[in-house]
C-alpha cells in the first residue's frame, strides 16, 4: 500500500529524518513509536506532501508521490489526521465533512456514514470547530480525513490529550476501520494504545528506524522498550 524508501527530510537547515524506510501493507495498521522529537511528525508531513523529502521516495500503490503537491497527494488517497487535531476554527462540523469530501474509490465514506460512526457530532453540526472539546475535535479531524475516502490514513498521535475512555474508543474505531479494509500509518507516544491496534511496529530514533517487530514481541521485550522509549 504505502512504501517509504530511504527518506531524508530536512526542517530548515537541520536533517530530521535521516534515511528511513518502512512499509504499510494493505489493510494493516503500522505503528511508528519513538520519543518526543525523533522526527515522527516530520515523517508524516513528508508523506503527506507538506514538507517534501530531499532524498528518497514515497510510493503509494507502486506510484511515486514523493514530490507531488500536498493537495495532489490527498486526492490520490492519502488522508491526514494531524497532531493536535488542527481543525479549522472558522468552519462548523458540517463544513469539515464537506470540504474534505471526495468519492469514487469505492470505500463508500460520506458525511452520513461518518456521523454514524460519531453520533455525538450529529447534535452539533452547525457548531464552529474552534469551540469544541478535545474529544469532539478528534472526531472531526478523523471525519475530515475519512470523507476523503483515503486508501491510507496517516494518524499523528491521535490519542494525545484524550481521556483514557476516549482512547479506548479510538482504539476500537481504528480496528473497525481496519476491518473495513483501511490501511493506517499510526505515529504514537502512547505505547499501550499503539500495541493494542498495530499489526507491525517500528521504533524510531534520531530520524531512523532502529527496530521493527510484531507488537507481541515488543510487549515482552523490556530491554528494547527501555532503550528506545525510555519506559
Amino acid at each position: 500500500m504505502l512504501e517509504v524508501e530511504d527518506l531524508h527530510v530536512a526542517y530548515g537547515e537541520s536533517w530530521i529524518v535521516q534515511g528511513m524506510s518502512l512499509r504499510v501493507a494493505d489493510g494493516q495498521i503500522a505503528a511508528v513509536l519513538g520519543r518526543n522529537g525523533v522526527g515522527k511528525t516530520t515523517l508524516i508531513h513528508a508523506i503527506a506532501g507538506l514538507n517534501p523529502p530531499r532524498r528518497g521516495r514515497v510510493l503509494l500503490n507502486g506510484e511515486e508521490i514523493s514530490r507531488l503537491p500536498a493537495h495532489e497527494i490527498a486526492r490520490r488517497g492519502v488522508g491526514l489526521v494531524p497532531q493536535g487535531r488542527r481543525v479549522f476554527p472558522s468552519l462548523d462540523i458540517r463544513e469539515h465533512l464537506v470540504v474534505g469530501a471526495r468519492s469514487g474509490n469505492g470505500r463508500g465514506w460520506d458525511a452520513t456514514r461518518v456521523l454514524g460512526l460519531f453520533p455525538r457530532l450529529r447534535e452539533r453540526l452547525s457548531h464552529r470547530a474552534g469551540k469544541l472539546s478535545g474529544g469532539a475535535q478528534a472526531m472531526v479531524a478523523a471525519g475530515r480525513a475519512l470523507v476523503g475516502n483515503a486508501d491510507i490514513l496517516l494518524m499523528d498521535e491521535p490519542s494525545e490529550g484524550l481521556a483514557p475512555l476516549l482512547v479506548r474508543e479510538l482504539g476500537r474505531i481504528l480496528l473497525d476501520l481496519k476491518r473495513g479494509g483501511a490501511s493506517i500509518l499510526l505515529v504514537e507516544q502512547n505505547l499501550a494504545f499503539a500495541l493494542r491496534v498495530a499489526d507491525h511496529v517500528y521504533l524510531m530514533s534520531k530520524g531512523r528506524i532502529v527496530h521493527e517487530c510484531a507488537p507481541d514481541d515488543l510487549r515482552r521485550d523490556d530491554a528494547t522498550k527501555s532503550r528506545w522509549l525510555g519506559v
Binding site: 506532501g49 507538506l50 493537495h71 490527498a74 491526514l80 488542527r86 472558522s90 468552519l91 470540504v99 474534505g100
Partner: protein
Amino acid sequence: MTFWAIQTLNGVSFGMLLFLLAAGLSLIFGLMKILNLAHGSYYALGTYVALSVVGWTGSFLLAAVAGMATVVVLGILMERVFLRRLPREELPQALLTFGFLLIVGDVSLWIWGGTPQTLPKPEVFAHSVRLGPLIFPSYRLFVIALGAVVGLALWFLQERTRLGAMLRAAIDDADIARATGINVSLLSTGVFAFGAALAALGGIVGGPLLGVYPGADFEILLLAFVVVIIGGLGSLKGAFFGGLLVGLLDNFGKALFPQAAMFTIFAPMAIILAVRPSGLFGAR
C-alpha cells in the same frame, strides 16, 4: 432635510465603492497575507480601459467587462510571476506592488493623458427618481443597490458555499487545507484575480461619479487603507461597515467642514488605533 438626504445618499454610494475596494484588499490579505499596494492601480486601470471601450462601442456593459478582464489579467500576472517568488514579508511585497502602482500609473498617464475624465452614465440610469419630496439620481441608487448585492453575494459565497468553506479553511490553516485536498495555490490566484476584479468594478461603477485622473489610484488606495484599518483587515463585515462609515464621514466632512481636510477620516482612524488596533471586526 433635502441636504441631509442627498448627502447621506452620496455618502452611502461612495461607501459602497469603498467597500468594493476594501473587500478585495481584505480578501487578498486574509488568504495570502499580502498587502497589495497596486490595488489602487486596478481601480484606475479598469476605469481607463472602460473609458476607451465605451468610446469605441458605446456599451457600458462591454466596457465594464473589458475593464475587469484587463485588470484580472494584470492581477494574475503579478501574483503568479512576481509575488509568488518573494519571501512572505510585508516590506518586499509592499515595494513590489508599489513598483507596479508606479508603472501602471505612469503608463496610464502616457496612454490616456492627464486630464480628468468621467465615464458616461449608462442610458438606463440617466434620469432621476422621485421619492416623496426628494429627487435622487437613479445612478446613485443603482450604485447602492449594486454594492448591497455584491456584499450579499460575497457573504453568501464565503459563508454558505463549499468554495467559501475551502477559502476559510485555507485562511485558518493553509497546510492542513492542502492535506485535505484543497488546491490552495489555485485558490490564491483566484482570490487575487477576484479581488482585482472587484477593485476594477469599483472604479468603473464609480467612473460616472468620481471620474479618473492621475493620482486617483493613490487617493483611493489610501481611503481603502483607512477602511480596513477601521473595519479590520481580513474581515468582509469590516470592509462593508468600514466602507459605509468612511464614505459617510468623508462626504459629510467635505460638505460641512471643507477646511477640515482629512481630519474627518483621520480622527476615527486614530480612535480605533488607540482603542482597538485590530479594527472593529478584525481578529484579536
